[in-house]
Symmetry: C4
Subunit: 277 residues, 4 copies
């Protein structure tokens, strides 16, 4: 297993070419946030915007509209129950993130089905949170496009069938190959499994042990794969920077809040992009 290096991240987060525009940095849709878990999609969308995604649309429950715009006017909003609208918008997206705070009810199932049945390569898909639970409960064929799943250990158990205690690198790698997707297995030291290789994230602090960290990572992964061409390196860079920022902030904080990581993203990404000047 290789360790993700600062160098890999610096080679991924490149300086933007001068004559580029928001279309070059991706159209990202995040789907999630039911009445109970609206904060999750707010945090995920915040991470996507602050990581530099060009255009961000959030499909969520109407009860989250006001709070989402109050925090993040940069995002556009659609009702996640409006299937026709969703089906019209999905083909226009470069990246879809589904799952943060989505829940597992019939609306959630409808959203997941809409995404899985509509998206086509070269569109990219990030599956997180409740969408993984739905997928584990009702396994279905995944479309043939770059997909990354971001389970914590219990969600990975549900998805891969491997009990937490048996989630060794070798077992995880076999499950990844069966699923055919990049798997980000979140733990104290997160591991990432691709077809080629397994990666270990060097960072991570117990100050991150608070609700919303995973939602923020999912949003970052969405924002990164929307901007950086190499799918694996984009994912690895998001995983790395998420905990590297937290490690830094934890030097002076007992707990690091997810939105503090997002707020720090533009400065950290800038530093990575100029490190090799």
């Amino acid at each position: 297993m290789q360790t993700i290096t600062t160098n890999l991240v610096q080679n991924t987060i490149k300086r933007r070419p001068a004559n580029s525009h928001k279309g070059d940095y991706g159209r990202v849709m995040l789907i999630g946030g039911n009445d109970q878990f609206g904060g999750a999609i707010i945090m995920a969308a915040t991470a996507a915007v602050y990581s530099g995604a060009g255009l961000v649309t959030v499909a969520t429950a109407p009860s989250n509209f006001a709070s989402l715009h109050a925090r993040l006017p940069e995002a556009m909003i659609v009702d996640y129950r409006a299937t026709t609208t969703l089906l019209a918008l999905l083909p226009k997206m470069d990246v879809v993130v589904i799952g943060p705070g989505l829940g597992t009810d019939v609306v959630a199932q409808g959203c997941l089905t809409a995404a899985l049945s509509t998206l086509q390569a070269p569109q990219r898909l990030v599956i997180d949170g409740s969408a993984l639970t739905l997928l584990a409960a009702d396994p279905q064929a995944l479309p043939d496009l770059p997909i990354v799943v971001t389970p914590h250990q219990m969600e990975w158990q549900r998805l891969s069938g491997i009990p937490i205690a048996e989630q060794t690198p070798a077992a995880n790698q076999r499950a990844q190959q069966k699923l055919g997707v990049v798997a980000v297995v979140k733990a104290h030291h997160t591991t990432v499994y691709t077809d080629q290789q397994a990666w270990r994230n060097p960072g991570g602090t117990p100050a991150m042990a608070t609700g919303g960290m995973g939602d923020t990572l999912a949003g970052m992964v969405g924002g990164f794969v929307a901007q950086f061409t190499d799918f694996t390196n984009a994912i690895l860079s998001a995983v790395y920077l998420h905990s590297a920022i937290a490690d830094d902030l934890a030097r002076t904080r007992y707990v690091v809040l997810p939105t503090q990581i997002s707020a720090a993203l533009p400065a950290y990404m800038h530093r990575m992009s100029v490190a090799q000047d």
Copy 2:
């Protein structure tokens, strides 16, 4: 009566073990916030999140959903009138804080009954604000689990039957023993009564004399008892830090707002956790 010391707080707020996760820092539910007093539960929940509770759920009136999420996406939300949902969630919690802005109507009574009839050791319960008024008006058997009440002097009068002018340490101690709960009697210098001992909080400033301070303390107590094993020391540490931060902020402010204390919590807790390195 003993004085709470910095040393006690430093011994309570320990460095987090590296390989820990949000489940280790507690599931906390805060119940309160009717249509009129929604700010109280927002401030309490903010204090719980910023003190490092692992997962925070707020049961409140729907009129508070948007403002709560706009300020605190880290919290999950349920309708405090949805009794079935509440009864399903309560057994999963490590700590319940009931009272900030709860009011005393039939919904409030239903919430209090749900909490008192459902919770079991080793769950922990913080009773604050209107929930104390309800309890005083209609005394009922408290469940056998670690409970802390956080009355101001008038609420303590209602609950203990001791008029404010007669709230001496000795009288308060006798009332505590009758009630069988830890009592945090809020005043210029707050006193804390346990079965073993009475404690005096050294801090406190008139810059704290503004609405929401008590709600913030209740949320901190909830967050602290969710993380730190020793129930009494967790409570004493929350009481101490709440006013110690306010004392510091008041060096440059005529009035200290409750949310400013919450915002400062992660840094102050960090300092406590590393003081003895």
Copy 3:
């Protein structure tokens, strides 16, 4: 005409006695904010809270509930159309501020009538904005208690009958004596008229020429008369500090936003309170 001095303000904003509580700093109700002008009451309430009022309640249109709490959880909220609730709460207040964003419809008239018919000395009343327009259109007997009006020049014309061009100190003073209230006539250099004397505010900057400044002043006046015993000096201190802070902020800003003044209040009030140590 005398000029308000820093010394007067320093003698008014005294250090708080150590053993005081929020009841000592006043219960303030602010009434205003219809569907169109909700921001006005949000800004006024913010100023009242940040100036140190003990407990702040806002009576406003329900469309403003979520945004008010999202910005200011410290405030309590009631529906300004709920006459019975208003009539029950008004007698419990120390200070009432009526007018910011109130509008002039039948609900607004009902609120003004409720305030004028209910309040009694030693309660104090601040009349601002649309409430002044209502009063000018339908003059009615004012209750016998300390009242301050805070018109801009056009509102003062409506209220006093003096055309703007003829608003000389002498004319204003005569109108003040006829009305029997303290009059704060807002202009580049605001003037304040009491039974005893006329005062000129030395501060003021064109960077304050933006919507919401008057609402912020009304909230500050409410907060100050709730805390400081001398009615006139409390008003003069609010007027002085409102523009003194703006003058300072304008050293580096082309426009000063009203909420920036409120945010700076606790620090400026602290400096005033310790200046004579």
Copy 4:
């Protein structure tokens, strides 16, 4: 083609005269923000307020009321579907900005028709975003008053009929003369076409390639033409400062968020106003 100079901006953003009031800095109405694109009008209105417009009113969908006030209490709000109210307010405005997040449905069309049929010189009009799309789809006579359009290249193609690849300065200038309005054609280096001349904006950074930048520029243009007499210079100064601030912020940020530009406006405008002291 001339380049916009710092000197031009410094000569435009003059020190405010001491004895001025908010009426001198313009009444600005911004019309836009449907249910899906509410963030656009929030960002545009924020830019107008922070650029120093005297009084700002936002006509938008009711679903945006709470979030707009939560972020920007300085703005007044009306329902953009309330045609009678709109028609009553429009004649009182100095400047109208129409388009950010407006959409192209029947309500949007009604708003555009209301503006085009009501406004008269010396009122000023900024047409942006969806309003340009509407105008291109259904060309109609523009009223005879100072008008500026702020299309990105695709919107300019729709409006002028010139394909993006053929949008040369000469072709753009011819289209401008046919339309008879000032045209701000947004690109990496934005160009501005007036009857007299073509201007090139020297600034611009790929860190601006994120949703909401155009909405922020439209709000700034509205705020600037409300305050500064020379219509062309006001527009050029807004264009210049928008990217000059972004260039500065991008020294330490990988992506610059639109609201960060607005937050920085008062300080940058101050510096321009005193540069020639």
